[in-house]
Amino acid sequence: MTAATTEVRAGRSGKARTLGVSRHAYPLWFYLPAAVLFLVFFAIPTFASFYFSLTRWTLFDQEFIGFENYVQFFREPQLYQGFINTLIYGFLTSGMKVVIGLALAVLLTSALVGRHFLRSVIFFPVLVSTIGVGIMFKALLDPFDGIVNGALETLGITGPGWLTDPDLALYSIIGIDVWKGLGIACLIYIAGLVAIPTEYYEAARVDGASKWAAFKSITLPLVKPATGTVIILSLIGGLRSFDLIWATTGGGPGFSSDVIGSVIYKQYQAGFYGLSTAGNVVLFVVVTVIMVPISLMLNKREVEQ
């Protein structure tokens, strides 16, 4: 009896495989919990936000007003500067993470004493909460009581108002962002570098190539997939960055370090829920318009290799 059931079961599953279901590693309903979570927490709110961006919404009630929120959003006096700042922030943090991340990764994959310890040190800031980092740097960079300017003073230099000088604030935050996010970039590059077979370098050495030539002709082309990942991750993160800016300057002094994200947040805080939702849709479009071509370009190059 038992033998027969086993046979039947085996037969059934064999039949199912021939019906083509076997292309899925798991039964379809295994996907259901994830699908429900995705729908409820991501897909539905995303589509709902498209609707709410077309309303005047007080949380208590809403009124459909067409595209008025979008018109109003683009009329915000500080939006233009916020937009420029967003681009500066996104591209500068991304570029610096690529350059410094690769340099550090090369250093940390070499036969350096204590490199495992140094890898942990560089990765450590990634683990700390962004708000915590922001508050910490606000204290460190205080123009009068902060230890950074205190240290500069002992060298006879009067430090600037890192976060309070309108011309400098954005760049100070960019520096903090790079410090905090470098660990991820470095980690991705280390993984990429370790995957390059050492034979290439040995062959190059036999051919008499200099260290720089080996880096340029072997390392750089072969870490291109890692570069693509670093650029995409850091650029998306930079373009929609908000938390670090909010924790350090709140977009100030005045509006001088405002980015699109902080402009939206201020509208949300003021209770303009429809308007800030429209801003988020705009941000979504901006990030998409910038990222899709870059992502396509990076992927295409990868295939060509």
């Binding site: 109003q72 009329r75 123009p143 108002g161 709140g250 100030g252 005045g254 303009f272």
Partner: protein, 435 residues
């Protein structure tokens, strides 16, 4: 690898957290069989206010042994605005909460969310000014939480005496005083943009002067007929720019905080601080010896006959209309107590009022000089409410715009025009006519 002792502490922590969670879930149960009721009072979580709220709760519970009031804290400023709106919209609001009166109160959609309170015993004892800022056309929604206060220039009277200065009546007199103060080696004007809200006082504290020149300004502003970019309202921005350009600010103005400002004033390194008189609580807490030196003057207008003091109304005390049954009765009893005459003593002891009460409580006879200064403006009839109590419009970015003016990033006229544009969002959100 965790050492044994700390592991035990960790375990104790978990147990404590679990117990706290149980206690919290018990709270939400509300009325028990033995007739006792628990309600929650949501209030701002700064030090001064927590002490006040605890004192009020103790006094209330002593008279009402069946009612337990739990205190819940919230942030102030725009973060707090957001929290209040979200909790009201989701029906998660505490049984009683205090919040601004005036324009921020209007944004809560009171008719839909709050309990009407005009049948309470204290309703008739409220001043007309206060009643108007916690009411809609459909009713009265708030009890009073504290005393009114003024916004203008808080100054160090000891240094005024030392230099033999007189209280300036016009803006030019004020700048002349500043020149003498600077020559004596003090910082004439204290500015603290580390707390951005403090930068608004040159503009907000000037409103009584605008009102003195044109009492209809607020109504016409609400109707989108008057603008900050035009005189007389532009004066606030213009004076702020002038003060910045004269170089009279303390050196660390970009990063100093409200508390730093109080310390500079109390220690005498700074002399004029355009701020709310509530700063006296902070000075009393940190520099009790300096309280007698603190004085108040209205922000001087260009023409001395317009110089008047701008007055802020106290917070309202509200009950959401989702509260029902025994909890509603308990919440009403708490509001009756706090707004009624029995709580006068508690307020006077805990907060040191800096302006007259709005519910019939009397100020004590021996108030500090600063409060006497405020009172003298009332006695002379030279006061007007702040704009936020006369118009529902207050743009969210004013504090950033005034930081721009006070840091030399933007001139007064452009900044005022930007602010006129900033308030458009608020006016449209409220569905006002003419915007």
């Amino acid at each position: 690898m965790i050492p044994k002792t700390s592991r035990r502490h960790f375990g104790a922590g978990v147990a404590a957290a679990a117990a706290a969670a149980l206690a919290l879930s018990a709270c939400s149960g509300g009325g028990d069989d033995d007739g006792s009721v628990e309600i929650t009072f949501l209030s701002t979580s700064d030090e001064d206010n927590t002490a006040l709220a605890e004192a009020l709760i103790d006094a209330f519970e002593a008279e009402n042994p069946d009612i337990t009031v739990n205190l819940d804290g919230r942030p102030g400023g725009t973060e707090g605005d957001n929290l209040i709106k979200t909790r009201l919209a989701t029906g998660e609001m505490a049984e009683v909460f205090n919040y601004n009166s005036g324009s921020l109160f209007q944004a809560l959609n009171p008719d839909q969310n709050l309990l009407e309170l005009s049948d309470r015993p204290w309703a008739d004892s409220l001043t007309d000014d206060f009643t108007s800022v916690v009411s809609t056309e459909n009713g009265l929604y708030g009890g009073s939480y504290g005393s009114s206060f003024a916004g203008g220039i808080v100054y160090n009277g000891a240094i005024y005496d030392e230099l033999g200065l007189e209280v300036p009546q016009s803006w030019d007199d004020f700048m002349a005083n500043n020149e003498q103060i600077a020559a004596a080696g003090y910082d004439p004007i204290v500015q603290t943009y580390g707390d951005t809200w403090t930068s608004q006082l040159f503009v907000l504290g000037d409103y009584a002067n605008v009102h003195a020149q044109d009492p209809d300004w607020a109504d016409q502003y609400t109707a989108h007929e008057r603008f900050y970019a035009d005189e007389p309202a532009l004066a606030g921005f213009r004076h702020h720019q002038e003060a910045y350009e004269s170089g009279y600010f303390n050196e660390n103005y970009p990063s100093a905080t409200f508390e730093d400002g109080g310390a500079m004033l109390a220690e005498g390194s700074g002399v004029h601080y355009p701020i709310l008189t509530t700063i006296l609580s902070s000075i009393r807490f940190n520099h009790p010896d300096a309280v007698e030196d603190m004085r108040f003057m209205a922000i001087p207008a260009d023409d001395p006959q317009h110089t008047s003091a701008t007055i802020w109304q106290p917070d309202g005390l509200y009950i959401p209309n989702t509260v029902e049954g025994a909890q509603r009765d308990a919440a009403l009893a708490f509001v009756d107590f706090v707004t009624g005459p029995d709580a006068c003593e508690v307020f006077i002891e805990a907060v040191n009022p800096t302006g007259p009460y709005v519910n019939g409580c009397e100020l004590p006879a021996d108030v500090p000089p600063l409060v006497q200064d405020v009172q003298s403006y009332f006695d002379a009839g030279n006061t007007a409410p702040a704009l936020e109590f006369l118009s529902p419009i207050k743009g969210p970015n004013l504090e950033n715009i005034t930081v721009e003016v006070g840091s030399g990033i933007r001139g007064a006229e452009e900044a005022a025009a930007n602010y006129d544009r900033d308030v458009e969002n608020q006016a449209r959100q409220l569905g006002l006519e003419g915007w």
